[in-house]
């Protein structure tokens, strides 16, 4: 395919036309993200001299891990042709339940902080993943559209999180939790980043090297074809939402460690941001198309833009505006790309 592309671009008449064609082909091949990334770096570097420093960029990565982990899960939902609007709620519920359980256990066994951390984390992960189980049952078994199912569960989960805490942040977790999973470092690398790298690697293997991973693409590519090919599409869909919730839950735990409190209000922007990260990274909303490594870049890009806007002192309310516009732009670019792809076939 590379050969034909090169041949075609060489055969095109005129240097201007050739450049345009090359640009179009690059766009079709790589998607919108590299171009956006380039623009963002140039713009923010010119707006603030602090932007392109190692310290700042490390900061970006550090801030990006939460969105990144959630986006990995969101990608699975998008791959199968759905999406998960309840990821924010999953973060919140994980945080509240995890923190409450951890604080309770810590109060009971003050000498065993790691036992409390383990129990609390398990409680948080279970609560968050339970939302995914509900989503999965609704979508796979009862055929509820992912939009309604996850929107409904977002409300259910958020309500539970608020009810459990009365809207008040939960304190009283062992100090070690925040020290290690929020601010800790191992061999000079922040622990949250290490955890994230671990999950990215797991996802790479899962998605590209296992039968289950292939099933996500098959179900999203054509659910009827997948069914006729003997793939248990219901099980795949169920697994998708459970995994998505589990990953969001991990993100919730890490964020709780970072904040050192359990809060029901974290994660409100997660559904939009994670979908934006995926779509900008070329994950198709129609399902069946998307790559893990691009989603990693997509999540980094979103946080990079937020960081750049912070440095450029753009008000946070306006940042939300920019983020929404970016999402829409990415979808438009995706459509354009499909049309160009169709015109380039033959």
């Amino acid at each position: 395919m590379i050969e034909t592309e090169r041949a075609a671009s060489l055969a095109a008449p005129g240097p201007g036309e050739r450049l345009r064609l090359l640009f179009v082909r690059l766009f079709v091949r790589l998607g919108v993200l590299p171009f956006l990334l380039l623009v963002a770096v140039v713009v923010f570097a010119s707006l603030s001299e602090n932007f392109l420093t190692l310290r700042n960029l490390t900061n970006v990565v550090r801030q990006a891990v939460y969105l990144l982990i959630v986006s990995l899960g969101q990608m699975l939902a998008l791959l199968t042709g759905g999406f998960d609007l309840s990821v924010g709620t999953i973060l919140a519920l994980t945080s509240v339940v995890g923190a409450s359980a951890m604080a309770a256990a810590h109060a009971a066994f003050p000498d065993l902080p790691w036992l409390s951390i383990l129990l609390g984390s398990l409680a948080g992960l279970s609560a968050g993943t339970a939302i995914g189980v509900a989503n999965g049952l609704g979508v796979a078994l009862f055929g509820v559209s992912p939009f309604i199912m996850t929107l409904g569960m977002a409300s259910v989960g958020f309500g539970i999180a608020l009810y459990l805490t009365g809207g008040v942040p939960v304190y009283g977790m062992p100090r070690e939790f925040g020290e290690v999973f929020g601010f800790g470092e191992l061999l000079g690398v922040p622990v949250p980043i290490l955890v994230t790298v671990l999950f990215v690697l797991v996802m790479l293997v899962l998605v590209y090297r296992t039968r289950l991973g292939r099933s996500f693409y098959a179900v999203g590519g054509n659910v009827k074809a997948a069914r006729l090919s003997g793939i248990d599409t219901r099980r795949v869909l169920f697994t998708t939402y459970v995994l998505c919730a589990f990953l969001a839950s991990i993100g919730g735990l890490l964020l709780t460690a970072r904040l050192d409190t359990g809060e029901a209000n974290i994660g409100a922007s997660m559904p939009l941001e994670s979908i934006a990260a995926c779509v900008i990274a070329g994950v198709s909303l129609r399902g069946g198309v998307g790559r893990v490594e691009n989603v990693v870049l997509g999540a980094l890009f979103i946080v990079l833009v937020q960081n750049g806007m912070n440095l450029a002192r753009i008000e946070s309310y306006l940042q939300t505006v920019v983020l929404g516009l970016l999402l829409i732009l990415a979808v438009i670019a995706d459509q354009l790309r499909l049309r160009l792809m169709a015109s380039l076939r033959a």
């Binding site: 090297r209 039968r211 693409y217 098959a218 006729l228 003997g230 069946g288 076939r345």
Partner: protein
């Protein structure tokens, strides 16, 4: 009425619309209720609505594209009479059909198109063999490979009294031996496709049982049928066949993901899969021969080949092909037919569901003709002829 609604000012005039619709249906002699919802009508009745829509505007030229494809013989005859009427009134008719009988019945001149090119225009009295030659560009023997003899043996598949829940198949029983090609013929909606789908467990059954190699299979479901070496390839590659955005490789191996050849346990061996995909691409003569290309970017014929490759990606004892060559050029047809016959030679039992009459006639050892959900006739060997098959397609004449 859509697009030309009778109206007063900005508002629709449902009264006038109903009156016009009733007159129209009466004039055409279609026994339809103008207020019935189209989705609740039978396929033939839907076709009538479509035709009535065309007659509303008193056209000068009327293009009819396979208008009788889903009509019963009586309905079809009424339609053809209507066409005669219009012709007498000076309306030019462009009638697209693959039915030889209709060409002779209403045609004056016949233009044969093939692969997007006009081949010839001949008088409608031209002999059938000549028309087939023009349509296919070669003699029939060159397209269809000779059928191998069917070895004696117990049936691979035995289906008894299959009745689908939707009533599309009513009490169909059939069996199929290894190496045999069994054709399912009949009109669209005759139940021929649904019978095959029922065997694969896609169409829910109300009654009936299926035996594979003498053992009853229960429950019927695609995954368990695949595990037993049964594969069904659907008729509409876009709708149910292929994941268009995914590479040819993934589409070819989609039904083989449970095979141990592709890797141990949950793992999917990338190189093993790539090697298999290359091998399959070679066997089906994929053009361009790049299995990594998205299926969407291949021509229709090559897409159909990719779908067919699923049957080669794993051992298949019974292959059910539903319209395997729909919308496919002659060269691809010829190579697909060769692959089908090769599989049969190796002992695969093949169930061929097709609306393409030449395909049924030349590629089947045995033909079952479906009509309104029931098996109307069984023809074997030399008895398989166009007249013999077609005769069972339609309502029987009232004696």
């Amino acid at each position: 009425m859509l697009g030309d609604e009778p109206a007063r000012g900005w508002f629709l005039d449902p009264g006038a619309a109903r009156r016009i619709a009733r007159e129209l249906l009466e004039r055409l002699g279609f026994p339809l209720d103008p207020d019935a919802r189209v989705e609740g009508l039978a396929r033939a009745e839907q076709q009538m609505v479509e035709i009535a829509k065309a007659f509303r505007t008193a056209p000068k030229v009327l293009v009819l594209d396979e208008p009788t494809a889903s009509l019963t013989e009586r309905e079809a005859r009424r339609l053809l009479a209507l066409v005669d009427q219009l012709k007498a009134r000076g309306v030019g008719i462009l009638y697209i059909t693959h039915r030889m009988g209709e060409i002779r019945r209403i045609g004056d001149r016949v233009t044969v198109l093939r692969d997007g090119k006009k081949i010839a225009t001949v008088p409608a009295s031209t002999s059938e063999d000549e028309l087939v030659r023009l349509m296919t560009g070669r003699a029939i023997e060159q397209i269809f490979p000779p059928l191998p003899a069917v070895p004696e043996g117990p049936p691979v598949l035995r289906a008894q009294e299959l009745t689908t829940r939707s009533g599309s198949v009513l009490g169909a029983s059939f069996q199929l031996r290894a190496g045999e090609i069994l054709g399912f013929a009949g009109l669209v909606g005759s139940g021929k496709s649904e019978a095959a789908r029922a065997v694969f467990g896609v169409e829910p059954l109300a009654a009936g049982r299926v035996w594979l190699d003498g053992a009853p299979v229960e429950p019927l479901a695609p995954a368990s049928m695949l595990a037993r070496g049964v594969l069904y390839l659907p008729p509409d590659r876009r709708e149910e066949g292929l994941a268009m955005m995914r590479p040819a490789r993934e589409n070819m191996t989609m039904a083989a993901l449970d095979r141990p050849e592709l890797g141990p346990g949950p793992w999917l061996g990338r190189f093993k899969e790539a090697r298999l995909a290359h091998e399959l691409a070679r066997r089906i003569e994929l053009r361009p021969a790049n299995p990594e290309r998205a299926v969407e970017l291949f021509s229709g014929g090559n897409q159909q080949k990719v779908l067919f490759a699923r049957a080669l990606a794993r051992p298949v004892r019974l292959l059910m092909l539903d319209e395997p060559t729909v919308g496919v050029d002659m060269a691809t047809r010829a190579s697909l037919y060769r692959l089908i016959v090769e599989l049969a030679e190796k002992g695969t039992a093949i169930l061929l569901v097709s609306s393409d009459l030449p395909e049924i006639l030349h590629l089947s050892h045995r033909v079952l003709v479906f009509h309104r959900g029931r098996i109307r006739a069984e023809l074997e060997g030399a008895a398989i002829g166009e007249e013999a098959v077609l005769q069972h397609f339609f309502e029987r004449e009232a004696a």
